[in-house]
C-alpha cells in the first residue's frame, strides 16, 4: 500500500496531474448536481445532445480559425440548451425528439464543415479527441484551469441559491407557476448552466461520454436515498469520488481517462443498486 502512495505522490508532482484532478472534481461536482434535475425531467440524454452541439460549435470555430474556441462554443451551446429546455414540459416538440434532431444535426454539420474546410492536418484525430476526450484533461493550461474553476464556483453557487426553486420547478412546474414562481425563468437558468457544464465537461470525458457524468451519479443516488436533498448530496459525492478514482486509475494503468471515469461510475451504480436492494428490504 505504501508504494501506491509513493507512486501517487510522484505523479502528483506533475502539474498537469494536479490540474486534471482539480478540474475533474469541479466538473463532476457540477454535472452531478444538475444531473438529478435532468434525469427527473426525463432529459437524461441532453448531455449527449448538447455535447454534439458543442462539437458543431468547435467545428465552426476551427473553420473560422479562431484561436480560442470556447466563447463561440459556449454561445452556440447555450442557445441550443435554451431552445431545448425553455419549453419545459409544454414544449411543442417533446424532449427526446428535439434532442435527437439537434444533436445529430450538429454532429453531421460539424463534421461536414471540418471536412470541407479542413483547417488542420490531423482531421480524424481532432474529431476523435473531441468525441472521446482523449487526454484533453491532462493537457490543460493554467488559464483553462482558472476558467474552469471560476465557472464551477459560479455554477455551484447558483445551484445552492436557487436550490428550492429548482426543486419546485422539477417536481411540479404547473404548481410552481400557479403559485407565482416564474418557472420559465428557472428553466432558462437551468438550461444555461447545463450548457456551460457540458462545454467544460467535454474536456474531461469527451462528447460521447458526457451523458454518463450527468446520469450515473444521479441514478446511483436515487437507488439509496429518499429525500431530494440527500439524493443531490450523494450524487455529488459519488460523482467526485468516481472521477478521482477514474483519473488516477487512467494515469496508473495507461487507459483513456474518459472511459475509465465512466467505468468507475458504472461500478458505483452497480454497487448502489445492490446496496439499495439489501437496505431497502429492511429499512422502511
Amino acid at each position: 500500500m505504501a508504494s501506491i502512495f509513493s507512486t501517487l505522490s510522484t505523479y502528483f508532482a506533475y502539474p498537469f496531474v494536479r490540474y486534471a484532478l482539480i478540474v475533474g472534481v469541479l466538473i463532476s461536482l457540477c454535472s452531478s448536481l444538475l444531473g438529478v434535475t435532468l434525469v427527473l425531467k426525463r432529459f437524461s440524454f441532453i448531455g449527449d445532445g448538447l455535447s454534439h452541439v458543442a462539437f458543431g460549435g468547435m467545428a465552426i470555430a476551427s473553420v473560422f480559425k479562431l484561436t480560442n474556441d470556447m466563447p463561440l462554443t459556449l454561445i452556440v451551446t447555450v442557445i441550443c440548451a435554451v431552445l431545448l429546455l425553455k419549453g419545459g414540459q409544454n414544449a411543442k416538440i417533446k424532449g427526446d425528439a428535439a434532442i435527437a434532431m439537434i444533436s445529430v444535426g450538429a454532429l453531421a454539420i460539424g463534421y461536414l464543415l471540418l471536412n470541407i474546410f479542413s483547417p488542420s492536418g490531423n482531421l480524424s484525430g481532432d474529431v476523435c479527441s473531441t468525441l472521446f476526450g482523449s487526454t484533453s484533461i491532462l493537457t490543460l493550461t493554467r488559464a483553462e484551469v482558472y476558467l474552469c474553476a471560476i465557472l464551477s464556483v459560479i455554477v455551484v453557487a447558483v445551484f445552492i441559491l436557487l436550490y428550492n426553486r429548482i426543486f419546485a420547478v422539477t417536481f411540479d412546474e404547473d404548481f410552481a407557476s400557479a403559485t407565482g414562481t416564474n418557472a420559465n425563468l428557472y428553466n432558462l437558468i437551468i438550461a444555461i448552466i447545463i450548457a456551460v457544464i457540458i462545454v467544460l465537461a467535454m474536456n474531461l470525458v469527451g462528447s460521447l461520454l458526457i451523458s454518463a457524468l450527468v446520469i450515473f451519479p444521479a441514478l446511483s443516488a436515487m437507488r439509496l436515498f429518499k429525500s431530494f436533498k440527500s439524493v443531490t448530496v450523494c450524487s455529488a459525492i459519488l460523482s467526485v469520488i468516481c472521477s478521482l478514482i477514474g483519473i488516477i486509475a487512467a494515469i496508473i494503468l495507461g487507459t483513456p481517462v474518459g472511459s475509465t471515469i465512466v467505468a468507475a461510475d458504472i461500478i458505483a451504480f452497480a454497487l448502489c443498486y445492490v446496496l439499495g436492494v439489501f437496505l431497502g428490504g429492511s429499512g422502511k
Binding site: 501506491i4 498537469f16 491532462l138 496508473i252 454497487l271 448502489c272
Partner: protein, 150 residues
Amino acid sequence: MKKFIAIILAVFFIIPLVACNGKDEEKTEDNNSSSVSDSIDYDLSKLSTTMAYSQVVEMTNNSSKYLGKRVKITGTFIVEETPQRNYYSCLINDQTACCGVGFEFVLKDTSKSYPDDYPQSNGEITVEGIFNRYSEGENTYYELIDAVLL
C-alpha cells in the same frame, strides 16, 4: 447515516482493486530500467502511456522550462525520408490510438546511417537525449539531440 457510510466504504473498495493492478505494473517496469537513470531529468519511459503522452504535450507547450534537460522516452520509431534529410521520431500514441505526439531525435553517433544502424521502422524504441527546440520556416519542432538508442 448508516447508508451513507455504507456507500463510502463500498466505493473505497474500488481503490485497492485498481491500485493493486497499478502496483504490479510498476514493479516490472522498475526492474527493466536500472542503468543510466541517475542523470536523467525526465524519464518518460517509466510512465504509463497516459502520463507519458500528457508529459510530452506539456513539454511541447512549455518548452522553455525543459530546454537542455536530459529526457528518456519510449515509443514507436517513425522515419520520414525526404531528399534533404531523414527525420527520425519517437512517437507516443494516445489510448484511443487516434492521435500521437512525440519528439524527433538526432543520434550523437553521426556515423550511424539508416536503415542499417537504425531499429525496425514502426517498432518500439527507447531513446535518451537532450531536449531541444528548432524552427524550420514558420514551424517549431522539438527534438532530442545527442541522442542514444537504448
